[in-house]
Subunit: 332 residues, 2 copies
């Protein structure tokens, strides 16, 4: 009989689904970033829940205010990937008995920060005693069936692109969890990437409104895992020819003799969007995202064969499906 580690997150979810009846006519496949149901002609209600757990999601040095903000960002990012505005949110808390009034205020402040940052409202919730900090958020929004972007629409020939550079949080987590050092000016920025992650909501909404994407996912489990998820959902592969890595991460890799590609591909807790775009819509997509101050970086193209390869400097490397997955990685 397997334990949780052997099952992995996906195995656990598969087991549970064996016991649940499928709702007919779901707008997004099970396993997409969010869930969506038809509510009337063309309109869909979109839902998402994601739980922050102190032990696995709050690295040393992160304040409670930042943790509460992050719990919201994790959820907003999935709505960003689907191109859906988060209208309202519920927050369910598990609070260790050791917390004091000041801590509760910090949690409140972090939730308030995030709600204002992403123009959503917290309208309810639940409070409980628990042995570890738990912040479970649920989002509701509405969209149109033709504007919501699934993971499953990528087609061979499409361009695959991302909304920002990778590697900062991998490097930041190596500083926070493994005690690696970095020059002060980059250490702060790497830690900030972990402590104050940003969801690409304006970008996701702009791309959805412009109707330029064929598929989209967020990169919260790391770029490599997101590519595999997108590949599975769309039944395609990717030829990646560029992994945009943040300057600070490149510098950090040099200092510690690390492969910068490993930092960029196999991280997690990074909330960029990974999207596919038909070549003829590429310029429109770039314009749409530029209008909200964002950027779209081409990283390769969608191919028919279901393999994911990285081609750089004439060399082909395979990209492995690894990164952050609960039950497989935890704080040391």
């Amino acid at each position: 009989m397997r334990g949780l580690e052997a099952l992995g997150e996906k195995g656990i979810i598969r087991l549970i689904w064996e016991y649940l009846d499928r709702m007919p006519d779901l707008v997004l496949d099970l396993g997409d970033d969010a869930s969506a149901i038809n509510i009337d002609d063309g309109r869909v209600a979109v839902l998402k829940t994601d739980m922050l757990v102190g032990e696995t999601d709050v690295p040393p040095g992160m304040s409670l205010r930042q943790a509460a903000r992050k719990a919201v960002v994790m959820n907003i990012s999935d709505f960003a990937a689907k191109g859906v505005k988060p209208l309202v949110m519920l927050v369910s808390l598990g609070l260790p008995r050791s917390l004091r009034e000041k801590d509760i205020r910090d949690i409140g402040a972090g939730l308030g920060d995030a709600a204002r940052e992403y123009s959503t409202y917290i309208i309810g919730g639940d409070t409980n005693e628990a042995s570890d900090l738990i912040i479970s958020c649920s989002l509701l929004g509405f969209s149109n069936k033709e504007e919501i972007i699934s993971r499953s629409g990528a087609k061979p020939g499409d361009i695959i692109a991302v909304t920002g550079k990778f590697g900062r949080t991998s490097a930041g987590l190596k500083i926070l969890l493994e005690g690696l050092s970095a020059p002060r000016e980059i250490e702060e920025r790497l830690k900030e990437a972990v402590f104050i992650p940003k969801a690409r909501l304006s970008e996701g909404l702009a791309l959805s409104e412009a109707k330029v994407l064929s598929a989209s996912i967020d990169s919260s489990d790391g770029l490599a895992v997101s590519l595999y998820e997108l590949s599975d959902a769309s039944g395609v592969g990717f030829m990646i020819d560029h992994v945009p890595i943040a300057d600070e991460a490149v510098r950090f890799a040099e200092i510690h003799d690390l492969d910068p590609y490993n930092l960029g591909l196999y991280g997690g807790e990074e909330y960029e969007l990974v999207v596919t775009v038909k070549p003829q819509l590429w310029e429109s997509a770039k314009r749409a995202i530029a209008k909200v101050g964002g950027t779209l970086i081409r990283i390769g193209r969608v191919i028919k064969e279901r393999r994911i390869e990285l081609r750089t400097n004439g060399e082909i490397r395979s990209i492995e499906c690894k990164g952050w997955e609960h039950f497989k990685m935890r704080k040391p």
Copy 2:
């Protein structure tokens, strides 16, 4: 600086709300059993989240399958109280590393049991490692503004009524948590009340559809606390002249020389509805609930003065505001 115990659940919620912007035009007040927003002419989206925590919500002897089912029932009961059909649900899990495949199957089976029992669908969720079992559910449903029943509509002169008898879970918890004994034939029924609680969904939907209620709340924090909540929200008081106590609880009280009223009033984890009805609608209300096999038991009347009294056998006793509240009561 106060700790969680001194703050209490309500104090914690108040603190957090200090940091959150209020959404304008909410259909239900903050603190009602569920949250509701206007989505278009007269239609409202209704949301609820409630978290089950192993340490405080799963008494000894309750199986994982029952715990998972209970996590759903806790949420459904609030929808029942608002008279709203739960359309879809998300489930966010925190799973201790010690769980095995069999345990995950039990949780899946319990979630599936509950979803079928209340004709709703689980359409998504999230899985995490946590130090204690956490099952956080979120429900979405739709209603009309004039059909949703708040806590705040009770008016002096209304009849106050409940959908069933009380005291079974108090007695059951005394058996499970304090080791009190009971004759086998009633022990099983008292434990079952704790292990397999029922939400009064058909009853709530029937009463809402018949438009006969002026206010409604569920009794998950105990009958006394629910009366106080209803009193606070509606700005009224209650003269209670009858507390319907289950036969098994009366018997249990006799055996252990307990006051049966204490079992009936100050319990919790009981999911009856506590509703108010205009006298001229009382017969319609009884007919509406009888149609779905339910029952409505008159327990007293709404009074203008904001006090809650129990008048039995010519004697007046005051009802205290106590019962189950997280951070104030826990397993021994």
